[in-house]
Symmetry: C2
């Protein structure tokens, strides 16, 4: 039996994602496709534009069989953590094949680099640390370290994420075949193209431009809130000014709390705040992730327990997916749950906090408790 695993955010699910999903299934020819998906908050450190329940439903209707939740504590993190969370869960779900898109497109290169890092872990980490001490941001520091180790570079965010997946699989000796396909477009371009990027589609959706032709499942958007990080600015300003323990919050490191307290007084909107905080040292995503953890009041000391995941939360599944889940429950030690109330875990408490945060602006947090996975 071949089980294909894919990591996604589907923010929003668009024609490029559909293409990627179909292409992956064409290449791997799986019996079943499992997606691990970022929940309400995504890796770039902001809420996804639309609820995870809608995004996962559309994925099922577009040909996936099971969508599981990547816990927020892994989703709102740098590439290595993000990958660790995603690979752990896909492995527990029994995938045999992983496929990811990348600018590079050559899986052998990823494997070579990952093996080299695995065999020179200490040297690699030391080189990263030295580069960061010189003021380089983490992605650039990784590349400096790679250059030193084997004269290679991994330039784009997607290649870096892909490398993290491969490293995680190799490091854990997971029995998973790896595949990689070249991405069809650069997701960072902002002009709507034949296959539009997620960034441009989010802009279009917020501007009420009709992009239904680009978005499978567009009918589900009608009655849904479009989430926007900028709306959380008042809460962020309040908590940065009044929380006296900012430095106890996850990702608030190296004295940045003083910069935060100074900067927040000078600005009245999220975009300006993020621009002022982004620097040679801190990428925009790094800053935004930190702001999300501040809003969630997510303490450093609570993170290790959150990261010890022992459950798999289902967001949506097909009929075929349902049968597979029933069997997989017997094969994994992880508890597979359809409802958040069926399991106690610090990471699920965080999911509820994330829903509560969104509810401050968009209403009812109770959906996080009452929602059950979409299923055919």
């Amino acid at each position: 039996m071949k089980i294909l695993g894919i990591v996604a955010e589907y923010n929003p699910f668009h024609k490029g994602h559909l293409y990627h999903l179909k292409k992956a299934q064409e290449i791997v020819k799986p019996d079943l496709t499992i997606i691990v998906m970022s929940p309400q908050f995504v890796q770039r450190g902001e809420p996804a534009i639309i609820s995870k329940w809608i995004r996962s439903r559309i994925a099922i209707e577009s040909g996936a069989d099971i969508v599981i939740e990547l816990p927020t504590i892994y989703a709102v993190e740098s590439a290595d953590y993000f990958a660790k969370g995603a690979m752990t869960l896909l492995h527990e779900m029994g995938i045999t094949d992983l496929l990811f898109g990348s600018e590079n497109g050559d899986i052998e290169q990823f494997i070579e680099i990952a093996n080299t890092i695995e065999n020179h872990q200490e040297q690699y980490n030391t080189a990263i640390k030295e580069a960061m001490d010189q003021g380089l941001r983490y992605p650039d520091a990784c590349n400096r370290a790679l250059s030193l180790l084997l004269n290679k570079e991994v330039k784009t965010p997607n290649d870096l994420l892909g490398l993290s997946y491969v490293k995680e699989i190799i490091h854990n000796h997971y029995d998973i075949r790896m595949h990689c396909i070249k991405r069809t477009n650069d997701y960072h371009e902002e002009k709507l193209q034949e296959i539009a990027s997620a960034t441009s589609l989010r802009k279009a959706l917020h501007a009420h431009i009709d992009v239904s032709s680009q978005l499978p499942g567009y009918q589900y958007y009608k009655d849904e809130h479009l989430y926007s990080f900028s709306e959380f600015f008042p809460y962020l300003k309040y908590t940065i000014l009044f929380n006296e323990q900012l430095s106890s919050i996850h990702l608030v490191d190296e004295g940045i709390e003083n910069l935060l307290k100074d900067t927040i007084k000078k600005t009245d909107n999220m975009e300006d705040l993020i621009n002022r905080l982004t620097s040679k040292r801190y990428t925009r995503s790094r800053i935004q992730r930190m702001l999300v953890h501040i809003l969630l009041n997510n303490k450093k000391e609570d993170v290790p327990a959150m990261m010890k995941i022992d459950y798999i939360r289902l967001l949506a599944f097909s009929k075929k997916g349902q049968l597979y889940i029933k069997e997989q429950k017997k094969r994994t030690d992880f508890k597979i749950i359809a409802n958040i109330s069926k399991h106690q875990h610090p990471s699920l408490t965080l999911e509820y906090k994330a829903a509560t945060l969104l509810s401050l602006i968009y209403g009812d947090a109770h959906t996080e408790i009452s929602s059950i996975p979409y299923h055919e």
Copy 2:
């Protein structure tokens, strides 16, 4: 030299206050009149309707000579603390006479009650504790204790406040003559009368009804924000939901944090929240004061240091007041300051936090630093 002291909130300064001030000066015939006034947040636990700078300026233009700030930590407190803060500062300012308004109007009765309490402190406190253990609210518990001690009752909030002033003066053996005049109207009535109450005037101001005839100094209201507690609801909701250390906050006692966390989820506005929390046990003012301290994230452990006041902050003064201040500086150990930046004190940090909180909705907190007292 006769120096008259008056405790006030002037929320807002209206014709009744003007009448009271003139009447007090008629009775005492002072050389100088000093007001100790609540700052941005008042005893009932909400922001005053308009800035302390405006309120104190109008008081000077209406015949007072000096207005000093009652620190927030004393202003947003029950009668005994409120009175302790006010009496300490008026005493340090060298007043010879205190005059307050009350429903009762008989100073001898207040003195008799205060003396009895002073001489039976333990018995009185025990009786209060017992009454509160039976579920009575603090004002009712005080009355139960008074009934037991000397078969007397003090029924209204103003009489209770007045009694607290008298108790404080007697307890500390301050050399201050006490006077009391009957209040001309009940401030709790909501209909505009010949001399309107503060409550009805606040309602009228928020409803944009022209009440200029009732408000001396109305011209200063033009360009000013009218503050409203209800606007702080989003911040309150956020912090009650996300602050994991609510019970460490001043006035959050006896496990009320759980009730708070439950109740906040059920409501979407301040008025409803306060109504739901008010009970036989907790008066509306007690609840509102607690909510103010939650918004300010004012920790229990910081309160004792805040309450050790060693300064007097000037809000406004007349020419005559200025000459007196110059002399009084030589006579008091308290530091008399005209600008918040001239002294370091936890209580002044709280004033800055109060200004910061207001600035989230009404703009620039910097006025707290840049403002200097109004003077002729």
